[in-house]
Subunit: 324 residues, 4 copies
């Protein structure tokens, strides 16, 4: 059994289908098209699906919209609304429901700064509730937010920091925002993934203690991720596939070498490339030139969506009024 | 008895002396001049001194250097060395001594970003100790660092966040870096204050629970602060004094109005101005145009000093090699 | 005859009226209130008005809106529309009409970066016309844009740089965007001034050769300015006035000193304060803490307005689509 | 005859040698090793060399140092010194020799911002000479500097803007700083190229009028460039080569497909890949995560070198004093 690694559940399912011409067993997929976006719900229903996906059981919702990276205010509003609707379905409609928003990533490194930028823009209210000893408000619910930084700059596992804060502030829900890597350039800056299973940094074996999840934090964790880079090995892999396809027309399909290349699974090729690229280091990223502007735009979409979804008194009409 | 409010112990003592022509009882002052800086040790020895100063008993060390705001690499190195020496005197020389550096302030607001900028530049090592299960190293000691943000963007009291992290990571010392406000424009960007008593945000009555100190965190707290702004009321106050002085030569010193103005204590005048300025809001700051560059320079000086003071294997010669 | 110095025509007229209880001769003033803004047209009609104002004959249009500094998307759109309407009245409705937008100021210094930020956001099209040898297009007109920097970083008078570019590219109009200083804190970030007379840096005597105007560039120059700072002397001056007013109730109005203070003209007081503050240097600015965010918001309002006003095919509905 | 395209003369020569196992005729190469760097002088001596290189006759000096991307102050100083020495050899030692420094690229896009960041850091002096009508000074020479932006944001060919400024300010020399693309990831952030032939944006046929050179500006142009990105096609190309090499061991070298792949020239493969990648757009870049910090460091090295090389009164000891 092979294992496709990607931050996006959608991509794993896609690559699985390409390789096997069938759906992943134990995984349910539903898709709806909207004016500005395609929304796909991938549900990992049981252990079998979970094993193949390399992701815990739960819901993975993907909003795909090539317009996400645009500065168009109307489209941004529409996407905030779409995202807010999906979030509302996942968040209990209780007054005084407490949410902690966690912006993961390094704010000094642009493609990694999505989480911290969302945190700078959301409407935080927990301190008002504390100050005035409120337990209830018709227009808002208690929201707090933090960008803890990354282990390279803090020296502390992110989960340790968040666990400390969760114990002190006792939220009912953690929403974690993170920049992801995609396997496909086309998904970069165009895709938002919501998942009910939290975040698994590295998501390899033995990293259990590092994940941000109900398991480690004691409260449900919704993760919101946007791919902002492609890793170099992925790009090389995709390109080789395209080049081999292009060359195939010129080469005899019976040739040994061609068969060798075609016969390798995508994962084998990916591993080979990864190995070959190793000296370049994990520090190499593939992204777009205009990433500074795009991260600003997308973080606004997500912050607006969170403001709408978390506060009953905010709807799209006035949401920009609450942008920090 | 009157109360002068300032983030800088040095200023309070100075203003007290100006007003009363005597030293504050219960406060010891010592000054030494160096090539690039004047270093003043203000020791608040007892409750009487503490009451007048409005600051807890402890040591307040001020390094004053007009060159601090310059980009001159040699002077920056000299000041890092001076600051490191003062810190070394305050930090136990034990291997495996664990320090948590806390960068206070909002990284999106330039004059407030000093703490976060220092945190981005210090050399953190705690995760190496954790990963390799080290308890000891000849060249480094375990250092972690965090910029928690401010209550306006997190919704959480900073002390709650830090207390959570201190409980999880158990440092032996917290060093907190903060941008301060000065009463005098000349001190802005030219002064570093170290204190052994932690940080009292607002430092008014009833704010006890908000302070970052041994009292609230359970471990000693060293605070490092640099004034990056003057508050508007201060500037107005200083100016009025200068203008009244200038006008006095033209006015009869016997005049009632003159006597009224001269007769008011500085603190009364300051309060009056504060009240008058209220509609402008606390949001108004007085600073210098080149603050972006200056904050970068000063945060480098402080990060270098911390790297030298905390890690036995780092001295000035190689300190820039460890700048993140 | 006294001379009030301010970047804002509105303020000069206001201060004149306060001091003399009459309108400036040779100056016509008209005001209309709108939903989000008050618009004031100050027309300097002749030499007498020009002398008193310290500004050339021409139109000075001020849009005042406390909402300008807000992030509210709807209000921003409304203000862009208002500004666009005023600009349309000043710009000939000719196809192939060529405009050069000049962003004055230093992009590394936040309160000075308004012009450069507008330039990064406007929709430039001149190169399409050049590439395809177009002379005419139903939806757009040729627009170019440059941020030349300031003399301190270029070593060149800005007018020399712009004159060189005007000679090479032959625009029909220059629109120059600049950050201004206001006399009143309340105007900071809330006011847009359009003037048909260009820009006079320093605007003192002998600076004629430095101005950006039809006189120096050979084409009409429209200036758009927004106050982003108050100078320190102004703040001190305003405060003294408020404090003296507050104190007056306690002092006999017959006192000599009071009369001295009251008797001084605002300008005399301002000069005295300026002199007293001199050691602080011109580098001191008074602004608001959240200036980074506000400059971004206002530059978007202005860039949108320019896009609507300059390109017949762009209206408010799609204007954000053309934001760079 | 084939044509290798690269911004770096060194790379073209290297790839030529790899493909042909011989030196390029009409090109002289000399290499010296220093403590922190390898310096290579490539001289294109005649038309034949120029044709093969795709670069004008002239000198191309490359300083290669893996330490360039480090923050180490001592190494940065050593590299500034090395670069300054090479520049001094190219710049006439005349008092009152006027230099205009041009920072090419878009300051809003990090990997493109090298030129503008150097311009913000160099010591400009021309305005002092103008103000005091100096023609001569023992410590400094008249230097001006500008970052004109890129055609996408100005709507004007950069050469038109610079020509306008050259005509107005009459410098004796233009030094243009630009971010380059490399063919090899290892060269990114580790290489400085100086050339005496100016800059050819795109450098394809028909672009003659766009180049910044003595030909278009009327004064000599020295170009300083640093590769800050690899283009995606290059990365894919390099990887394919490595993968094919790795696979070859498993495949019969007699296979048709293998021969096809091996038989293609690098340039043919590059073109094929370029075509295949086209939908991704030219907007895709490959760089390193820490590019923000690295661009700051490298721009400091170059600014220091220019300050030392252009002003007789500045040497390494005090150079940081003149950093803006």
């Amino acid at each position: 059994m092979f294992q496709i690694r990607s931050d996006l559940a959608l991509e794993i399912r896609e690559l699985y289908k390409e390789n096997t011409q069938q759906e992943i067993p134990g995984v349910e997929v539903e898709q709806k098209k909207q004016e500005f976006a395609t929304i796909t719900h991938v549900k990992v229903l049981n252990q079998e699906g979970s094993k193949i996906m390399g992701k815990p059981e739960g819901s993975y919702i993907t909003i795909e919209s090539p317009s996400l990276k645009k500065a168009d205010a109307d489209v941004k509003d529409a996407l905030s609304q779409l995202l807010a609707k999906e979030l509302v379905n996942l968040i209990p409609n209780k007054s005084n429901f407490k949410t902690l928003i966690v912006g993961l990533g390094n704010w000094d490194i642009t493609p990694d700064a999505l989480g911290p930028q969302v945190v700078s823009k959301v409407f935080v209210t927990r301190h008002f509730f504390e100050m005035y000893k409120k337990t209830d408000d018709p227009t808002m619910r208690p929201v707090s937010a933090i960008s803890p930084g990354v282990m390279g700059t803090t020296g502390i596992e992110t989960v340790e920091i968040i666990r400390g804060i969760v114990e002190k502030t006792k939220p009912d829900l953690v929403v974690a925002i993170d920049a992801l890597a995609s396997r496909r350039m086309q998904r970069v800056h165009t895709t938002i993934q919501i998942s009910t299973t939290g975040i698994n940094p590295g998501s390899g074996i033995g990293n259990k203690r590092k994940e941000l999840s109900q398991h480690t934090l004691g409260v449900p964790v919704i993760a919101i991720g946007v791919p902002t880079v492609v890793d170099a090995a992925t790009l090389a892999n995709d390109t080789i596939k395209l080049v081999v396809d292009a060359l195939s027309d010129q080469a005899s399909k019976e040739s040994e070498f061609y068969k060798l290349l075609r016969g390798m699974s995508d994962e084998d090729k990916y591993s080979l490339i990864k190995e070959v690229l190793d000296p370049y280091g994990a520090n190499v990223i593939v992204t777009t030139k205009d990433i500074d502007v795009i991260i600003t735009n997308i973080s606004q979409v997500i912050a607006n969506a969170l403001n709408i979804a978390l506060h009953p008194g905010i709807d799209l009409k006035d949401v920009n009024r609450y942008l920090q």
